[in-house]
Homo-oligomer: 332 residues x 2
């Protein structure tokens, strides 16, 4: 079986490819399907090298390119390629082109292939915004307050309709903010939630642009990749007509993040974080949902991280070369 990962050279794309290689197979309709080949489509190649991984570069919004991405062997498509929140807000046309046109082209390519590929669409909790209840439930109406959230929600609707029509077997997961994101900061407005852990552990200063009491809904890369695999392995019957779901996560305040940082890195680590409010970030963050009741996802078997300390420890374990602060505790 062939698996296509768009955005396959990105953060989650690389982690997912690694996890698929480690697993070696996926439980699909016809039983265990062997992972013979992973096509990672992106603007450039990724670091992960393996005989089963093939990099293809191009633009997800180019019709001819996207038509060539899927053939009869492509049983599974994971659509990660996207312009993230800050980027889509700053460049409206780019966001529409990549997030909306790109998604539609990919779904059309799946439809043209004709064998109803299983498609995982990675939406975001940014579909929620505006006047939200204290706890967002499966019944809360998504009312995005940013172009990124709008484009993700439109993607979900298309996935639902293409699935209903029998063009694809689609499923869309609304991903919490993934923390701790390794590497350089990206254009996501939520980046500070990773930055205040990642930078101090690297011995570098970080800025907290929001109140320490600010809460966020987060999940670790490990948990998210695990939930991607679970979303793919659930049957169409498990999903039913409702193909969108809020993924489980953890509520964490920035204070709690700093406490977890102190646990592994001591006062020296926390001293590297400076609180410097940024009105632009604050304005956006205030419209975000921080607490969820994900009853449906839990009933369907999705599982998040047990606590934030586990997330930090997993980051240290998975990114040994990024840890440069002296004296960081590497295990509990």
């Amino acid at each position: 079986m062939k698996i296509l990962i768009t955005g396959g050279a990105g953060f989650l794309g690389q982690q997912l490819a690694r996890a698929l290689l480690d697993r070696g197979s996926l439980r699909l309709a016809g039983g265990e399907a062997k992972v013979d080949r992973i096509v990672c489509f992106d603007q450039g190649a990724g670091a992960l090298q393996d005989a089963r991984v093939e990099y293809r570069t191009g633009d997800i919004a180019d019709p001819a390119t996207v038509r060539g991405l899927i053939d009869r062997d492509t049983a599974v498509v994971v659509h990660l390629a996207a312009v993230v929140s800050g980027g889509a807000e700053a460049d409206f046309d780019l966001g529409m082109r990549v997030n909306l046109d790109g998604t539609r082209l990919l779904l059309d390519a799946c439809r043209t292939a004709g064998h109803q590929p299983r498609v995982l669409f990675t939406s975001s909790i940014a579909v929620f915004g505006g006047d939200l209840p204290a706890v967002v439930t499966d019944a809360t109406t998504p009312t995005p307050q940013g172009s990124y959230g709008i484009q993700k929600l439109v993607g979900e609707l298309l996935v639902a309709d293409y699935s209903r029509k029998g063009y694809i077997d689609g499923r869309a997961v609304r991903v919490p903010t993934v923390v701790v994101r390794p590497g350089a900061p990206n254009a996501a407005a939520s980046g500070f939630a990773s930055g205040i852990i990642r930078e101090p552990l690297a011995g570098v200063a970080a800025i907290l642009p929001v109140e320490p009491a600010t809460k966020m809904w987060v999940a670790s890369p490990r948990a998210v990749v695990g939930m991607f695999l679970h979303a793919l392995e659930l049957s169409p019957q498990d999903w039913g007509w409702n193909r969108s779901i809020n993924l489980p996560g953890l509520v964490v305040s920035m204070e709690e993040e700093l406490a977890a940082l102190r646990e592994v890195g001591g006062d020296a680590a926390v001293a590297l974080v400076r609180h410097q409010p940024d009105e632009k970030v604050l304005k956006l963050v205030r419209t975000w949902a921080a607490n969820f009741d994900t009853a449906r996802a839990l009933a369907m078997g999705f599982r998040a991280d047990p606590d934030f300390a586990t997330i930090v420890r997993a980051y240290i374990e998975d990114n040994p070369t990024a840890i440069k602060l002296p004296g960081v505790r590497r295990s509990a």
Copy 2:
């Protein structure tokens, strides 16, 4: 002031143009704005003739055409051009092209014009479907079960985001099934709700393809056009960030429709309606929402018809030449 009506040669487009001419002005931000010119854009011309009405023909999904539709004088745009429910379900690509691409092109033309035109988007209660509560409220999540509903909901989301970005001053109304629709039946799956009144009054047989107890959420053309004007005259502050609204209407069962028909046309009229269940129509109708609590719209001043008998009498008054059954009572 210039007003653009897309789908302006259609049923509601013609009624709206007539109402705008009769009114002569609209209460906009700068006070009463005189209706100097109405541009009715459609695939063909309409019957209404007036010195202030200009017909332009073309395809709403053609970029060059749509770019030419809006200039600095176009203060108001009402977007009615659409492939209706049955049509969008039967021809997926046509629905996507007209309902999705067409809407986006129009919004982009408004954005390019640069003066933030006031845009009314006509959505539909077909955005609701699936496992619905007995009464749909302002908090009910739209989960469309047809391509038409999906495309309308995507249109709403784009209107919301273009408004938030300041590209347009948009508002979207979810229109109940408009009854009684005059003239020939169209491709809307809900057509029978008009047909079982219209055809008998014309002395023609009609088919009721659903159970007589089937309920629908309806409004008269007069009420709907009145609510379009109201939606346009409300200020951006009245709307706030939530630019979509469920319009008030009436719950009516097909039995109640037949009772109203008997009142004006007697047993002879009702005898022309034959109950002949159609599984395809039944399947669709079962997913529709029939009862709404439209608290927000009522608070914003939207008003529907008082009862179904009033709707039938208005139809008879407005369409005298379509009434051919002998002995029809023309007033209460």
